[in-house]
Each structure stands twice: as structure tokens, then as C-alpha cells.
Amino acid sequence: MGASGARERLGNTVNEGVPPLRSSGEWDMGQSAEPIVLELATLPREQVGPFLLLGLDKTADKETIDAHWAERLKWARKGLSKVPLEDINWAREVLSDIERRIRADVASLNIDTTDGMLAQLAQRYGVQEGKAVRTWEARDSEKTLADYQPPAEVPDAEAVYAALVVPELPEEVPAVPLLLERLAQQPLDPWAIDLEG
């Protein structure tokens, strides 16, 4: 089994526009200059290699391998890729084993050059992890709410203080008024109040 993407081959005269054969069997001599695509024998997956099957550079780490494998599984299931599922799984299996991976490295083509120029170009055009993403800076304008005060009713402290009914103080504990006074003077922390309790 091999990558079916490797099954096609162009005629050598793409730009010379060899006229395609119509379904009726006549040669189409019109303007159409579609190249002839010939079906050749499938390249074995060992020849395509696990790196090309998963779209990986030979330096890929385990996380990248897994991410590419998962993505290609999705593509295969949705019919977005011609690579069979079993080849995708085989590729991951090979790359998970260090010895098999090294052997596959020796026997596989390199899509990128040693200095990684293609990867740099891809990055320049926003390709991350094999997917192109937008990197232009959008315009943001947030409302200016730094001085905003929510319309909440805040009671007048003096009125609240005046409305308090002071309980009768027990004579046998003379320190109570002093303690209460101190407690009343402590600052209130509204966030410490358990509203639900």
C-alpha cells in the first residue's frame, strides 16, 4: 500500500497542452490545455516514507508526530486526503520506534533543505503546525470605563450610626463599651461579608 497521491504522473508536456481525449473518444482540439494524467503503479509506502506521509520534517518531535497523525486521520475520514488510514497508522508506528525511524530517515526524501528554508518561509506566511493562521493585527477599541461607578445605593454612614440602638450595658463588665467602640471604628471590608451565609 502506498500514498495514492503518488500514483499520478504528469505527461512531460504540460505546457504544450496535449489535447485531452473526450468521453466520446475524439480528441478535443479546442482551447483546453489540461495536462494528461497517467495512472502509474503505486509507489510502496516504504518508498514514500513516513515523514512525507505525515507531512513532517525529519527533526519532528513526538508531540508534532502525534499532532500530524491525528490531523491526517481526520482528513482521511473526511475524504480530504487520498492516503489510506492504514498507511497513516503505519507511518506513526515507524516513527515511534527509534531504530525504524532512523532507517526510514535514510530511505526517505527531504522536502526541506538542511537550513530549513522552506519551514522559515512557511512561518513567514503564518503556517503553524502545518496550518496557516491569520497574523494581521486587528483594531481594538475598548470602552473607557476607568471612572465608571455602578448605580448602586450607598447608605449614609452617619444615618446608619444614628439609627443604631445601643443595648443596655452590663455593670459587672465595664470594659464592654470600650470594646464596642473599638469594634465600631474598625474599617469595614464588604468583600469579607458572606452574603449567602
Binding site: 495514492s4 497521491g5 503518488a6 499520478e8 504522473r9 504528469l10 504540460v14 505546457n15 495536462p35 494524467v37 509507489l43 512525507l52 506521509l53 507531512g55 525529519k58 519532528a60 518531535d61 487520498k82 492516503v83 527509534i98 531504530e99 525511524r101 532512523i102 532507517r103 530517515d105 535514510v106 530511505a107 526524501l109 527531504n110 522536502i111 526541506d112 533543505t113 538542511t114 537550513d115 528554508m117 522552506l118 518561509l121 512557511a122 513567514r124 506566511y125 503564518g126 503556517v127 502545518g130 496557516a132 493562521v133 491569520r134 497574523t135 494581521w136 493585527e137 486587528a138 483594531r139 481594538d140 477599541s141 475598548e142 470602552k143 473607557t144 470605563l145 465608571y148 455602578p150 448605580p151
Partner: protein, 555 residues
Amino acid sequence: MPGVLSIAESDSARYEAAAGFFERAVQAGCQDTHVLYMLAMVRKRQGKLHEARNVLRKIAQPDAHVILQMGLLSLQENQLAQAEEEFAHAWQMDPRSYEICYNLLLTRLTLGKIEDCLALIPAALDLASHRLVTQRAGSISDDGQPVAYASSSYDNPDERRFLLVLQALLQTCCKGTNGAPSLAELTAADEQRLLQLLRHLGQLDTVHMLLKALARARPRSTAIREAYLEVVLVKAKELIDRCAWTDAELLLRPLEREKSNNRATQLVLLNLLGCCACMTQDFDSAIKHFLAAIKLAPNDPRLHQNLALTYEWKGELPQADPYWNRFFDLLDDRVPVPPAIPHYLDHLAYEGLGRLAARYSEKEKWAGALNYVQRAAHLRPNDPDTLERLFQLYNQAKRPQDARRTLEKLRQLRPDEPQYEMYELDLIEVKSLNDIEKLLTEIDRILKHYPNDVRVEERAVNMVGNVIPLMGTLCDQLTDQMSKVIDQVRNLPNYQINWSAVREVMRDLLREFQKLRRITGKCLPLVSSDEHRRIIRDLAEHIDKKMEACRSMGA
């Protein structure tokens, strides 16, 4: 750097504290639109996009600001279609917002909706001309970073001009004409800004289409031509990632004729063309492309490897040799390697040499195979597997002295390995019946010395299997000699026959047949397959008949 980090840390702490207050207010029942909005903004700055969106959704009557923020969140999540929908909604609510209009325009551009962009640009131009500056210092960009107003491109006085340039490009793209006049008059700065925007669009199909139009409109611009070449290469890579070799090749071929001034991109182009040709089994074209690439970068090991593999797949192993050798020579620290695999390049070289040795062995070119295994053994001088291969190849190449020396080393490395005694037998040159007898006796001895050793048994069976045809050949030679004597006896008159000489010859032949018969007897218990047993029994029967004939002739 530490200063930046401490600012980031203090920002992070402030956002966390602010979010805490807002959350508690909301938990306490506060449904104030502005409080919810501020909580969402804090979450956005913290990068908690999902939470920010959830808070924005709680706002009962969202205004254009809220919808704009939702659009920005969608953009950050790369949900372009949703972002477009939200910006369009916000734009309906507030058609005077330049920010909304700009974001909608670029989102549509990213999605490749050229017509929709063209429809929007007049409004954007109008807003860019009349808008009031409302953004304050300290506001944030969509990636959550504070932006200083003075340094933001937002306040660029060339905004209107940029929109006009973009409009001209989109019109050119739509009409397919060879360049609107304004495109021909672009300044270097305009061109740079346009290219900058296109490079950040993130949709390769759209960028490709726009750059193609731009390259047509400005054929003399080197920067644009290079950008176009770059995007084609990146797009081809995208196709190759899906194993769509033919589509990638179709995309790249037109560029083959245009010579780029940039050596690096030209190199990438040639390499990709070579890979596509190789994968579509057009090996001649692949070789042509790889050779051209190597001319540009003679010290790139990956290119040498590609070319060597292509020659191999074409079946031209000797042509691949120099490129493999160069590849091995160039494997040094500059070559990128995967993380977490120590000594990767050493392993790579070793496996490569071993692989080539196997290729040559398959074609029975022992000298070539020997050369690569010798190099592999040089890399791993104490690796028994490599030395075993080396031993076998020395044997195949008829170099018994080297084979013996290698075997000695193997014995030192694995002194108790029973197989090596069998290897010793490989060194015996078997030509005569005596050699065969000696070999079988030794095999029998080793088998008895190492009973139940599967590997020894297997090897013994193989060796005996190799001897059987030789026994047949020797038997045939003896039979021929005997037939000649019998023919002469039958055809000559009795008085001309030297009977004493005939008897002498027959005695010699009988002795030889007896020896062969003894060997078949030794051989029979050593074979395991029924086929071999049958052949030996037939041979024994044949020998018996011949021995009888010898006796009848006076032996």
C-alpha cells in the same frame, strides 16, 4: 528583559485581582452591562478567551462595542467565518466605527471575499478621512497587549492611501486586467506595507491569488516577484503535505523558467520540483532538478541524499554512490536532528551504510557491499552483528584470510557463541568427496556438542542443504567415467580389451562410490526436510546400482 518580565507579572497580578472583584460582584447578583464588559476585557487580556466570550454573552442588550469584542475573540480563535458575522453585525449597529469597518474588511479579505471587500472600502475610506481619534494610550490590541497610541499604525497618516492601494489591487484581481494605474505608481513603502499585510493574511489561497495579481501588475518589482515565489513554495508544501504531488508539481512548474535572484528560494523550488518528480516516478526530471539544486548548494547533505535515493530508485546504484558518500561526509553538527535521540547522526550514518550494503548484496555485488560494511564496522568496531555481516561478505568475496581474522574478533567478543564454530566450517573450501566428508563430520560433532541449539541446527541444515547438490554432481562425474569404460568394453572386440586395466578402473570407481555411499549415510540424519531426504535416498539407490555394476565388471 527582567524589567519586562516584572511588568508582565505585575499586569498579570492586577488582572487577576480585578477579575476577582468583578466575579464577586457578578456572583452577588450584579448584572450591570459595564461590569460584565470590564470582566470580559480582563479575561481577554488574561488570554482566557472562552471565559471572556461567556461573560460577553451574559450582557442582556449587547451594543456594537460588545459585538466588536466578540468578533475579536473569534479572530483570536481563528474562527474567521464567525468573526466576519460578528463584525458585520457590529458594523450594522455602528456604521461610524472605523475599527469595526477595518476588521470586517480584513476578515473578508482573509476569507477571499474580494467583491465584499471592494464594496466595503469606500465606507472605510470615508471613515479614515473623517474619523476622530478616540483610542487612548494604554488600550489593547486584539492579542491582549497594551499599545501606545503614538506608535500604533492605527494613527498612520497614510491609512487612506493604503486603503486606496488595497482597493486598486482588489480591482485588478477582480477584473484580471494588467495593473490599475495606481498599482503601477506604488512607492516602496506602499509596496512593503501591502506585502506585509498579505504575508499576515494566513489564507494561502487568498494570498496566492492576490500576489499573482500584484506580480502581474508590477512585473518589474523584485520584492513582489520574490513574495509570489515564496507563497507558491509554501502552497506547494501544503499540497505535498497532503501527498498531492501532481498538484504541487503543476503549481511549481511555471516558476521553473523564471530564474529567481534569491538563491535560497531557488534552491527550495528546485528541491520541491525534484521531490514531486520523484514521487510521480519521473526520475529523470528529478535527477535534473536535484543536480541543479546541488550546483547551488554543494554542501547540503539533504540534497545529496535526495539525489542518491533517486538514482537508486531508478535502478542506477553505481551513480548513487558518489552522492551517498558525499552525504555521509557532510553529516556534521550543522545538520538538524530530532530531539531526545542521542548520537542521531552516528546512527544515521551507520544505518545508511548498512542499507547500502544490503542493496549491493541483493544484486550480488559483493565488492560494493563489502566496502559499505567495512565502513559500518569502522563506525562500530565492536558490534557483533556488523562483524558477522563482514565475515559473510569476506567469505562471498573469497577472502578467507580476512574472514578468518574477522571470525577471531567475533570469538573474542562472544567467546561462547556456538554459531561461530559453524562459521569456521564456512571457511572450508569444499571440492572433493574428502572435503564433504570432513565437513559433515564436523557438523555432526558440533550438533552433538550443542544439542537443542536452534540456531546451530538451522545453520547445520543450511550447510548440509548446500552440500547435497555437490554430492549429486560428484556422483554424476563418477557415473560418466563408468559409462565411458562400459561403452568401450561393449564396442571393442574382446581381444582388444585390456581386462586387467578395466578391473583396475572399476576397483577405483567402486572405492569412490563406496565413499560417496558412506557420505550419504552420514548426511541423511542431518537433514530435516522431506525433499532433501528423498534426494539422498534416490542418490543412495543410484550409487548402490552403480556399485553393483562395478562389481559385475570385475571390481
